[in-house]
């Protein structure tokens, strides 16, 4: 288990390395600067100690010896400051560049991922990989760069310097300091339990809050305020206790380690003082001062490193999720000799098409369907019967498992995706509005459209009226909440997009489901004009639309169960007939 973990981590590190290695010169520079800076930094306390040794008592101050040492310290500090600054800049550059590249790769990759992957992943998951995982990864990487390496160098060098000054004292420090580490670890482990308790109760409370505040109108309508306050207070009381425990325990880490470090410091002062008395020649007061400063700094990188390691583990976990996304197999690219479909006539054939989302679940099987140019095909059936699946196949959002779909006689697989998709105008039940102006939204499929064309399209979609009532008319920016547009208004905008493009074929998937009956009637007339001469596939529930279709596909549980005109299907007295009948018996 552990070994597998290691292997996995190694492969993630390899993936990260691919990005980091592009900036290898800067990385090498960063390592050199970190090593040099850390070692030089440690020279300073030693030099300060030597300077102090030059000033023993009144009349015994050797200014000639002190002066050059102090100058050395000043120059050295300036050099160190410069190298630390360069190091930071270097690290920033590498890390943010890597972050940019890895995010860009991930985003570009999403554009190539098949919908069969995207549809099965909750949208929030992919977003959080690109945003927060990438962010945490870069933070971990930055910390790793700035602190891990220099921390290790500092620890090693400090030990070396301390042993050079006094082996005995160095031993005291080396033996005692792990104590602070162990204590911190011990507390952190306990705290973890309390923190998870706290976040569990917090989660419970947030659920209660969002439920009660989300349903606040119902709470008030049923005069339920007192009871919900009672339920809230119960959780709130538990949260207060758990929070107290977690906060208190976690706030013990600092004082405890500080106390242990102070004890180490005292031990050094004590033992150091005694050794100066017993052997003043080999261990001077200045050395003691230097030693004390080492001892107080020595524990810092330890605590930092344990923090950095936790961060790095997190960073690797985040990088793993991000790299996983980038490693997902993309769609098969269009072959280089693929045909660009221009000015399609609109003849569509399904030959023995089979398809299912999951291999074990059969959906469309052996579908044969031949639609001549300009025909109108209506697709009806209960919700979940697979009407949308046909649209997915036509647009090549999904590929058929078997059989072939042809447009104007060309198999769709041999046609470039962009040219195939631009041949269809699509309006879906789920509206999607871009975070941009109304004008840009309508011109999505035809960015070169003139203002007149855009407004004409909006008029035909009966959207012009409400757009003009928006605060900035066509230049109103539709934000994340779509600027307060109703579902129906959004649908009208999506319809306007198609009116602007006028592609040779149409796919209308419940395009008017959120529009009230009277507006729909008016759009229906515009649609009728649009559909004239264009091959159209319509998922609809208005009988008038369905009745006028040249061909009706009746779907049930993923299968096409009946095909024919309205009259033929009624005469068949099959599923269509019963659907039709059941609606009108009661009304």
């Amino acid at each position: 288990m552990r070994r597998e973990n290691l292997k996995e981590n190694l492969s993630v590190l390899k993936g990260i390395w691919k990005y980091v290695v592009r900036h290898r010169l800067l990385v090498i520079l960063s390592f050199v600067l970190a090593a040099a800076g850390s070692v030089l930094m440690l020279l300073i306390p030693k030099l300060v100690g030597e300077a102090i040794d030059g000033a023993v008592a009144a009349g015994q101050v050797d200014f000639e010896a002190i002066m050059p040492i102090l100058l050395e310290i000043a120059l050295l500090s300036a050099g160190i400051a410069l190298s630390v600054w360069l190091l930071n800049i270097c690290n920033n550059h590498v890390v943010y560049q890597v972050l940019l590249e890895i995010r860009t790769d991930a985003f570009r990759h999403i554009q190539k991922l098949p919908l069969s992957y995207l549809d099965t992943k909750p949208g929030g998951d992919i977003v959080s990989r690109i945003i927060s995982d990438a962010d945490q990864f870069s933070e971990g990487l930055l910390l790793g760069f700035t602190q891990l390496f220099s921390g290790v160098v500092t620890i090693v060098a400090t030990i070396v310097f301390m042993f050079l000054l006094s082996p005995v004292l160095a031993l005291v420090v080396v033996v005692l300091t792990p104590l602070s580490w162990v204590t911190a670890h011990f507390i952190a482990k306990r705290t973890y339990g309390y923190f998870s308790e706290q976040s569990a109760i917090r989660g419970e409370q947030t659920a209660l809050i969002s439920e009660m505040i989300g349903g606040q109108k119902i709470v008030q309508a049923f005069r339920h305020e007192e009871q919900s306050q009672k339920a809230f207070d119960e959780v709130n009381g538990r949260l207060c206790k758990a929070s107290l425990r977690a906060t208190f325990l976690s706030s013990m880490v600092n004082p405890s380690t500080r106390c242990i470090n102070a004890i180490v410091f005292a031990a050094v002062a004590l033992a150091g003082g005694l050794s100066v008395i017993s052997a003043p020649a080999s261990f001077t007061v200045g050395s003691l001062a230097a030693f004390l400063s080492y001892a107080s700094q020595y524990t810092k990188p330890f605590n930092e490193i344990s923090g950095v390691i936790a961060e790095l583990q997190n960073a690797i976990a985040c990088a793993k999720r991000l790299l996983e996304l980038i490693a997902q197999p993309p769609m098969e690219p269009d072959s280089p000799d693929a045909l660009a479909l221009n000015d399609a006539k609109g003849q569509v054939d399904f030959d023995n098409v089979s398809f299912s989302y999951l291999p074990e679940q059969r959906l469309i099987e052996d579908l044969d369907l031949h639609v001549s140019a300009g025909q109108r095909v209506a697709i009806v059936g209960p919700t979940g019967s697979g009407k949308t699946t046909l649209m997915n196949l036509l647009m090549r959002f999904y590929e058929t498992r078997e059989g072939e779909i042809r447009v104007d006689g060309h198999p769709v697989r041999s046609v470039t995706r962009p040219s195939l998709r631009s041949s269809f105008g699509m309006v879906l039940q789920e509206t999607w509005i871009k975070n941009a102006t109304v004008r840009e939204n309508i011109a999505l499929g035809n960015p070169d459209a003139t203002t007149e064309q855009i407004e004409q399209a909006a008029k035909e979609a009966h959207a012009d009226g409400f757009i003009r009532r928006l605060p900035q008319g066509y230049d109103t920016v539709l934000g994340d909440d779509e600027g307060g547009l109703s579902q129906g208004q959004k649908q009208l905008l999506c319809i306007a997009r198609v009116f602007l493009c006028l592609p040779p074929m149409l796919i209308l998937d419940e395009a008017t489901s959120s529009i009230d009956a009277r507006t729909e009637l008016k759009i229906g007339q515009a649609f009728a004009k649009l559909m004239k001469g264009r091959t159209s596939f319509i998922v609809a529930h208005r009988l008038s639309t369905v009745r006028e279709a040249d061909m009706i596909l009746v779907m049930k549980e993923g299968h096409v169960v009946e095909i024919g005109t309205h009259e033929q299907l009624i005469a068949m007295k099959g599923f269509y007939y019963s659907l039709h009948q059941s609606q009108f018996d009661i009304v």
Binding site: I52, A55, V61, F63, I66, A74, A81, I89, N92, L100, R103, F107, Q111, L118, I126, I130, I131, D135, R202, I209, M212, I213, G214, Q216, Q220, A221, F222, R223, Q229, C240, S243, L244, T247, S251, P255, I260, A262, A269, L270, G273, L274, V276, A289, L292, S293, G381, P382, S422, F424, M426, G445, D516, A517, R518, L521, H541, R542, S544, V546, L579
Partner: protein, 576 residues
């Protein structure tokens, strides 16, 4: 700030003791360099081992005393912050429950939830850290300065110069990067927005072949983000080297000056070491202080937002106490207009209607025509801006609000259930209802079978948002919930839209035969649901386009006739 003190009032002892104890703890820190000086001067210089050992042990004792003081102080800080946060959440929740629909609409659910969760957490963290560090860090900085002054005034001049200089650098850099970091966060939000949009619109974007263009736009925002990150990174990168350099130059000055003072016999070697150690202490505390200030300013912003919610006042200011002589369920609207606060136009305009006790009243119209607004005036979810709404002859604004809401059973458009059991949900209508009464309500709401088919019966758990029930089942449970209270007035706000025609018809029949004959308002887009009503009002953009029975409207109201035509001839073909 005043608000904050109010919440800390209950924890006055903790809030005062915690910082004081932290100051005492700081004293033990400040004593250390002095003790080291004693070891050097009285012990080492004099060759007295006993002094060295005694002083060393004293240092250990100081460390232990510091730990003890810190433990108590941290406990008090944790108690005060956790307790104040709990009190804040309690008050916020109570406040939100008292807000009227107008404020709830204006503020929005998401905002209120953020105030109660992350904002309160941030404030709690701020209180905790503030109590612990706000006094301690400055105390150590100034304590070190004072100690230095006590040791030797001329040498301490170096401190007097170094502290302001270090403080200036630390605060300038940390405080100036704060808004820059906020800018980075905004740019990150932009990248997030683009990613989320790209995924939610993947079908449309691919249909219009926008992949390349989207990628380019993404790269632009991403580069924008990177530039901001590098910029703020470059400024932050100055902090460590700059303070390091200043500190070391100060040490150089200190040693030089100290050497001169030692030479003249005014300073001992041990004292110089003590001064050196004080200098090292200062920097750490200054950086801690600057970070604390950032944290506190963030918490302060959160506290302000929390205070804004607590200061909100319900706009349903007038609270009457009248009670009608006889609660029958009569409803009258007299020239009623409604304009939502902040809206540019009236949502209802000059509506008059009258509905007798026990009558069924239908409301029909396109989406956005004001149907829901109309019925929400009856239980006084909103106040009309003109005219007057009367229930049983009493203006609803004069009526005791609790009494009024007890009179009305409301079934919302969106079927909202709460997590718990079916029974708990139904009891919302009337906490004292017996099981038999619950079953009666379920029967009338055509939901009896739904619950009978569940293994738990009335105890069947309801998950959050009722997601373990279908849309139609939820609607029927919401109707049953309203029926449990046997309300005089029942309002169904398009609440049978997910029911099939047969169930809908059976529901209407059941409502007609309820033993207490309530007045019923039915909002619907389907004529078939309203056909049997005693009276129907047709709304069109907030105006009354016609009123009467089904047959009268067919004759006189063009819009009604049109809707009828579409629905009977071009009715839906598929069930859902």
């Amino acid at each position: 700030m005043k608000k904050l003190l109010f919440f800390l009032k209950k924890y006055r002892k903790e809030s005062i003791l915690s910082p004081l104890l932290k100051m005492l703890e700081a004293l033990t820190d400040l004593a250390v360099p002095l003790l080291v000086a004693m070891i050097v001067d009285d012990g080492v210089a004099a060759g007295d081992r006993a002094v060295v050992i005694r002083t060393g042990l004293l240092m250990v004792a100081a460390a232990l005393a510091g730990l003890l003081l810190a433990v108590i102080a941290q406990y008090f800080a944790a108690r005060a912050s956790a307790g104040a946060a709990a009190q804040m959440r309690h008050d916020l929740f109570a406040k939100i429950q008292s807000l009227s629909f107008t404020e709830l609409d204006r503020t929005g659910t998401a905002t209120l939830i953020t105030r109660m969760t992350s904002d309160v957490n941030q404030v709690q963290n701020g209180i905790n850290m503030g109590l612990r560090l706000l006094l301690r860090s400055p105390f150590i900085v100034f304590g070190a300065l004072i100690m230095a002054l006590l040791i030797d005034v001329p040498s301490a001049l170096v401190f007097a110069l170094a502290i302001p200089l270090l403080g200036l650098v630390v605060f300038t850099i940390i405080l100036s990067t704060m808004p820059l970091y906020r800018g980075v966060q905004h740019k990150l939000d932009a990248v997030l927005g683009r990613t989320r949009q790209n995924l939610s619109g993947v079908r449309v974007l691919r249909a219009f072949c926008k992949e390349e263009e989207e990628s380019e736009q993404f790269i632009l925002s991403n580069k924008d983000l990177m530039r901001a990150q590098k910029f703020v990174g470059a400024i932050s990168a100055i902090l460590n080297p700059a303070t390091y350099l200043i500190l070391n130059l100060a040490i150089v000055a200190l040693v030089w000056r100290g050497a001169v003072r030692i030479d003249s016999g005014d300073l001992s070697q041990g004292q110089l070491i003590a001064l050196y150690n004080y200098m090292l202490q200062i920097l750490v505390e200054l950086i801690k202080l600057a970070n604390l200030i950032i944290l506190l300013s963030r918490s302060g912003a959160c506290m302000k937002r929390i205070g804004a919610v607590l200061d909100m006042r319900s706009s349903l200011m007038v609270k009457g106490n009248a009670v009608p002589e006889k609660a029958e369920g009569r409803v009258e609207f007299e020239h009623v207009s409604l304009r939502y606060s902040g809206a540019g136009a009236d949502s209802l305009q000059n509506i008059s209607l009258s509905c007798g006790a026990g009558e069924h009243f239908g409301i029909i119209g396109a989406t956005g025509s004001g149907k829901t607004s109309l019925v929400q005036l009856i239980p006084r979810f909103y106040d009309c801006t003109e005219g007057c709404v009367r229930v049983d002859g009493v203006d609803v604004r004069d009526m005791d609000p609790t009494f009024l809401r007890g009179l009305v059973g409301y079934v919302p458009q969106k079927a909202v259930l709460f997590s718990g059991s079916v029974r708990e949900n139904l009891l919302w209508g009337n906490p004292d209802a017996t099981d038999e009464e619950l079953w009666q309500a379920l029967r009338a709401a055509q939901a009896e079978e739904v619950i009978l088919n569940k293994p738990g019966g009335l105890d069947e758990p309801v998950e959050q948002d009722g997601r373990n029930f279908s849309g139609g089942q939820r609607q029927r449970l919401c109707i049953a919930r309203a029926l449990v209270g046997s309300p005089r007035i029942l309002i169904l706000d398009d609440s049978s839209s997910a029911l099939d025609y047969a169930t809908d018809a059976a529901l209407r029949a059941a409502l007609r035969s309820l033993p207490w004959h309530p007045t019923v308002f039915i909002v619907s887009q389907r004529i078939s649901s309203l056909r049997g009503a005693d009276r129907i009002i047709v709304l069109e953009e907030g105006l009354c386009a016609g009123q009467g029975t089904h047959d009268e409207l067919l004759k006189d109201c063009e819009i009604y006739r049109e809707i009828d035509q579409i629905q009977t001839e071009g009715g839906p073909v598929h069930a859902s």
